[in-house]
């Protein structure tokens, strides 16, 4: 069964590619930003964050939170709401994809966990251990196709 899998970091091309290879649909930030940027009715360059995005974030964060956190969470909220499973990669280097703001990072991971969808949490492994990390991710994706629900 094909699932919508949210990846974290949400702009990780590598994780997105692995999800697609595993037969699922990846939910990534680039797609959400792409939709904003291509929307001819929004004129707020460079990534067309609108007041609606900031308001959407208020479902998850307090009005007192910094504007950048609200913008990031507002942008990610639709992905979170669509997600049927997720992969959280911890301690990845910035080149692997990142959200930039540590508080937004931690808060978004918390929101993913709170959704109680099948989630794989895996530590980034570089060098020779990259294979093990990829194998673990692919095994999770394979199981997703078979099982109804799995939470780790």
């Amino acid at each position: 069964m094909k699932r919508k899998v949210l990846v974290y970091p949400p702009n990780s091309m590598i994780l997105s590619d692995l999800v697609e290879r595993g037969g699922h649909e990846s939910l990534v930030l680039m797609r959400e930003i792409g939709e904003h940027v291509r929307d001819a009715e929004i004129d707020a360059p460079p990534i067309n964050i609108t007041e609606e995005d900031l308001k959407r974030a208020l479902r998850y964060v307090s009005v007192e939170e910094p504007a950048g956190l609200k913008g990031r969470i507002g942008l990610l909220a639709p992905l979170l709401e669509k997600a049927e499973a997720s992969i959280i990669l911890s301690d990845a280097p910035p080149t692997y994809g990142c959200m930039g703001c540590a508080v937004a990072d931690e808060f978004f991971k918390f929101l993913i966990r709170k959704r109680e969808i099948p989630t794989l949490e895996v530590r980034y492994e570089g060098g020779e251990r990259t294979d093990e990390m990829v194998t673990e991710i692919m095994a999770f994706l394979e199981q997703l196709s078979k099982e109804e629900k799995k939470v780790r």
Partner: protein
């Protein structure tokens, strides 16, 4: 177009980048984003001496290091989100780093999702002046006969100067900006004892400068930050080295760090009326004193009393309650002065280091009680130069003599 580096941790996520770009273009600034290799981020953090938890703040530090390699960049705009403590720390570290390595002006802004356009405009306009008019701002002496007009939000100040001396002054409440300027000019010329056509050049600054400048066909029209700092440097004869200027008027406060008599960073208030001269005007009325007597009354205070709120409404209410419960007028007057000074300290001074000497100008500088409270808070002597309320007008008269 003047190139200014925008160094931020992701302003685009706050939804305000389009506004920044729009305002920058209007004031003649091209915002550029210094590029750096991701592999150099660690090195940049080591150079500045700090590593943040947020990757984007580390990238921000790397951008600051990288901008030093581009000679076309003439200033920097540092932006992080309002209420982000880590961002505030990094922003301040970058400012200090840039001031150690360069003499370019740097401005800081804590962005919210709906910033007031005027807040951004006034900051970027001042940044542009500090870059584009640097040679003029280096002027340390007024020459010939010139007039400076400061059309402020509460009062209009005019000075006529001859060979670095003030020979005439006018100071009136601003009602219709043009009429107030005309009347203050008339008073200044009368005191100077010269006809209008003896004035060789006129310069205008302040909130009403566009309207008044057009009416007077001014030779120079500049925003307040660069002009007031120049006026403060001239009045206090502080042309070399570091200095800090506190300018407090009827509605707006400015905190300016100077080097060699030219502003190189600043912080603008104006968010809360509780830290304005207007608050003191209302407090004076409540203690049945003229605003000119409030400061002296405050210095007679023997018992410390604290207002429970900075707010223009609730602070004044606390003041009324205090008077009704028998607290002495002078203690209430001192509490009002302390309330204003503390709020300026909390909201503006803490964002920047205070570089002595500290020069206090603007109408509120004449209120002795506020000066004393700043001295208590900061633990240093504050300089209130003669004619401190005319700093903007003196700055303008001096600068226009170099045009």
């Amino acid at each position: 177009m003047t190139k200014v580096a925008q160094i931020s941790c992701g302003t685009e996520y706050s939804g305000i980048q389009w506004m920044l770009n729009d305002i920058a273009e209007r004031v003649g600034i091209e915002l550029v984003y210094p590029e750096m290799e991701l592999s150099k981020v660690g090195e940049a953090c080591k150079e500045i001496g700090f590593e943040a938890e947020s990757p984007s703040l580390n990238i921000m530090m790397a951008s600051a290091v990288s901008m030093l390699d581009d000679p076309a960049i003439k200033g920097a705009l540092l932006l992080t989100c309002f209420k982000c403590s880590e961002g505030t720390i990094v922003k301040d570290m970058i400012r200090r780093f840039l001031h150690e390595r360069t003499d370019m002006p740097v401005i800081l802004y804590s962005n919210v999702e709906k910033p007031k356009e005027i807040e951004l405009y006034s900051r970027l306009e001042a940044l542009k002046t500090l870059i584009a008019r640097k040679t003029l701002l280096m002027r340390e002496k007024q020459e010939g006969v010139t007039m400076g007009v400061d059309s402020g939000s509460s009062t209009t100040k005019v000075v006529v100067m001859r060979d670095n001396e003030i020979i005439g002054k006018g100071w009136l409440p601003t009602t219709d900006p043009v009429k107030s300027a005309d009347d203050a000019i008339e008073a200044a010329l009368k005191e100077a004892g010269i006809p209008e056509n003896a004035v060789e050049a006129v310069g205008v600054t302040g909130h009403g400068r566009e309207l008044v400048g057009e009416h007077l066909r001014a030779d120079l029209n500049l925003e307040e930050v660069s002009v007031i700092s120049k006026g403060a440097a001239l009045l206090s004869k502080c042309h070399k080295g570091d200095a800090t200027v506190i300018d407090m008027g009827g509605m707006n406060n400015k905190l300016i760090l100077m080097r060699d008599g030219i502003a190189n960073t600043f912080n603008l208030g104006g968010i809360c009326a509780g830290s304005s001269g207007r608050f003191l005007e209302i407090a004076a009325r409540r203690v049945d004193a003229d605003i000119t007597e409030l400061g002296q009354l405050a210095t007679e205070s023997k018992e410390r009393y604290e207002l429970q709120s900075y707010c223009m409404v609730f602070g004044i209410q606390a003041l009324v309650v205090a008077l009704a419960s028998g607290v002495k007028r002078e203690d209430v007057a001192a509490a009002a002065c302390r309330s204003v000074a503390t709020q300026v300290y909390d909201n503006q001074m803490q964002e920047m280091e205070m570089r002595p000497p500290i020069i206090f100008v603007g109408g509120v500088s004449l209120i002795e009680g506020v000066k004393r409270e700043f001295e208590n808070i900061l633990g240093v002597e504050i300089i209130v130069p003669p004619y401190s309320q005319y700093a903007g007008a003196v700055g303008m008269a001096t600068l226009v003599s170099g045009v």
